[in-house]
């Protein structure tokens, strides 16, 4: 297993956000976490990426193992060094910095200009939409382009595991398709993906496996295909498709 989370409990102040959840992500997998607002999906993701502490949350107990090594309590920058990178919810690109500078921010602790340039090229070949925008300020991009940039920036860190928090949030239908296509492509290039999504049907279509969250607990776990066909999931999240 690439990532194993065991009996994780987390809270924001007095509010219990995760009640004893366990899940895992295998090598080369896309795993989707779906569920309604406030079910704890993003909290679980933030707990893994170490952002939880920076946003006033805390982990009470549980284990987070990455490649068998305990990573709970590591700082975010140490996690990045381990090979975990996050595409944050709402994209969070650096708005007054250019697209190029945004990508360079992802060039982790390296000074080798040629290698960084090569990484930028390979990100651009995956996300050609960014090519003509390189000198533009990231804040002037469309929402969809910003999502591409946020993904490209995370890929600059060369992660083994990509954590994607609500990548479809606020996207036009065209870009929504594109973003999910790109996630599949990134996965085919060898990066495992843990995906948090409200858009359950799209997420489950590309996911190998999925977990259904409800009020801080995992209530269902199965392959993506089976969850798509599951009556309860259909009723709750897929709008009776």
């Amino acid at each position: 297993m690439l990532l194993e989370v065991k009996n994780l409990m987390a809270r924001y102040g007095a509010v219990m956000a995760l009640k004893d959840i366990s899940f895992d992500v295998g090598e080369g997998e896309i795993v989707a976490m779906i569920g309604p607002n406030g079910a704890g999906k993003s909290t679980a993701l933030n707990a893994i990426s170490g952002v939880l502490e920076a946003t006033d949350g805390s982990i009470d107990s549980g284990q987070i193992l990455f490649e068998g090594k305990n990573i709970r309590g590591l700082r975010t920058d140490e996690l990045v060094a381990e090979g975990i990178s996050l595409v944050p919810e709402g994209r969070r690109v650096f708005p007054t910095m250019t697209v190029l500078e945004n990508l360079q921010m992802g060039a982790y602790k390296r000074n080798d200009k040629a290698a960084i340039q090569q990484d930028i090229e390979s990100v651009l070949s995956l996300l050609p939409q960014l090519k003509e925008r390189m000198k533009q300020k990231a804040g002037t991009l469309s929402t969809g382009e910003q999502q591409m940039l946020a993904m490209g920036r995370a890929l600059m860190l060369k992660p083994k595991l990509l954590l994607a928090d609500e990548p479809s949030l606020g996207l036009s239908p065209n870009y929504l398709e594109l973003v999910f296509d790109k996630l599949v492509e990134i996965n085919k290039n060898g990066t495992s993906i843990l995906l948090v999504e409200q858009n359950a049907s799209e997420a489950l279509e590309i996911a190998h496996r999925g977990y259904v969250f409800s009020i801080g607990e995992i209530v269902l776990e199965d392959t993506g295909k089976n969850l798509l066909r599951d009556e309860k999931v259909k009723k709750s999240f897929l709008g009776g498709l």
Partner: protein, 289 residues
């Protein structure tokens, strides 16, 4: 003429203060309100070394700057937990503490009586005196500060600072140790403020705590905002305008009973108009969120 050159020397010292605060506030986006405390430490450290131990200001200045940098690390510590207004208040408080120490630790600082007769800089045994010599000396330090800070903000390090300003969580997600960078930025800013304080002390040859009040910190912050946050050129403009403009108002030729309050009012009006018409400052591109 001497008077004009004196104003230029003072402007130069303020340019150093403004440039260094701009790194913290403008480039990294940390609301810091205690900059005068750092120049206070620089000024007192090198003055006391010179007066009590005969240490040359050439050595006292870097020692003062380094002491200020150490204080910078201390002041930087709350910035790891506090943001925005809260950080502004915490740094404000530290400014008050440093001022109070300078004022009340009479045994060392002579408190409100101040330190008179601080020796000046000398070159090859010749005492630097007169405004012209200090104009050149201060100009050298202004360029040094500008050159170093320009290198800093144009480097990948500077890019990370802007990233922290734009979005701290995203900078974290990019694997940047945000806490480390914040402390370093506070230390660098404090270091140069310490230089400015030391220059001021050896130029004026007298310091007392009243030169390093929190109001002074606010003035420096005004210069940063006025000139433009995140713009080094703006720091020159901001410091120059806010030092020179009030002096120009002296020459309006009014009876002194009217002139002094009117000066303050025109000064205040100028600030209001600029912030309404150009909130990003004279040369800035970035606005406070």
């Amino acid at each position: 003429m001497e008077y004009f050159v004196h104003i230029l020397v003072i402007t130069g010292i303020y340019v150093i203060l403004t440039l260094s605060l701009n790194l913290v506030v403008g480039y990294t986006g940390l609301a810091a309100l205690g900059h005068a405390a750092f120049s206070c430490v620089g000024a007192y450290a090198s003055s006391l070394l010179a007066m009590n131990y005969g240490v040359s200001p050439w050595l006292g200045l870097p020692i003062g700057a380094c002491s200020a940098a150490v204080l910078g690390a201390v002041v930087g510590a709350p910035s790891l937990r506090l943001k925005g207004d809260y950080l502004a208040l915490a740094t404000f408080g530290l400014g008050v503490i440093v001022y109070s120490i300078a004022k009340n630790w009479v045994a060392v600082t002579r408190g409100p009586m101040g330190l008179p007769g601080i020796p000046g800089f000398s070159i090859f045994g010749i005492q630097l005196s007169g405004v012209w010599a200090y104009l050149i000396l201060v100009a050298v330090f202004v360029f040094l500060t500008y050159f170093v800070l320009r290198r800093v903000v144009k480097s990948p390090f500077g890019r990370i600072l802007r990233g922290i300003r734009e979005d701290e969580v995203a900078a974290l997600a990019m694997g940047k140790n945000v806490n480390k960078y914040k402390i370093i930025v506070f230390m660098v800013g404090a270091f140069f403020a310490g230089i400015a304080g030391s220059l001021y002390a050896h130029y004026i040859t007298f310091i007392d705590p009243s030169s390093f009040t929190v109001m002074e910190s606010i003035t420096i912050l005004l210069m940063v905002v006025f000139g433009g946050m995140g713009s080094l050129g703006g720091s020159f403009a901001g410091a120059a305008v806010l030092v020179i403009f009030p002096e120009l108002l002296r020459f309006l030729g009014m009876p002194s009973s009217v002139a002094a309050p009117l000066r303050q009012m025109i000064y205040g009006l100028l600030l209001i108009v600029l912030m309404l018409k150009r909130p990003q400052g004279i040369l800035g591109t970035y606005r406070w969120k």
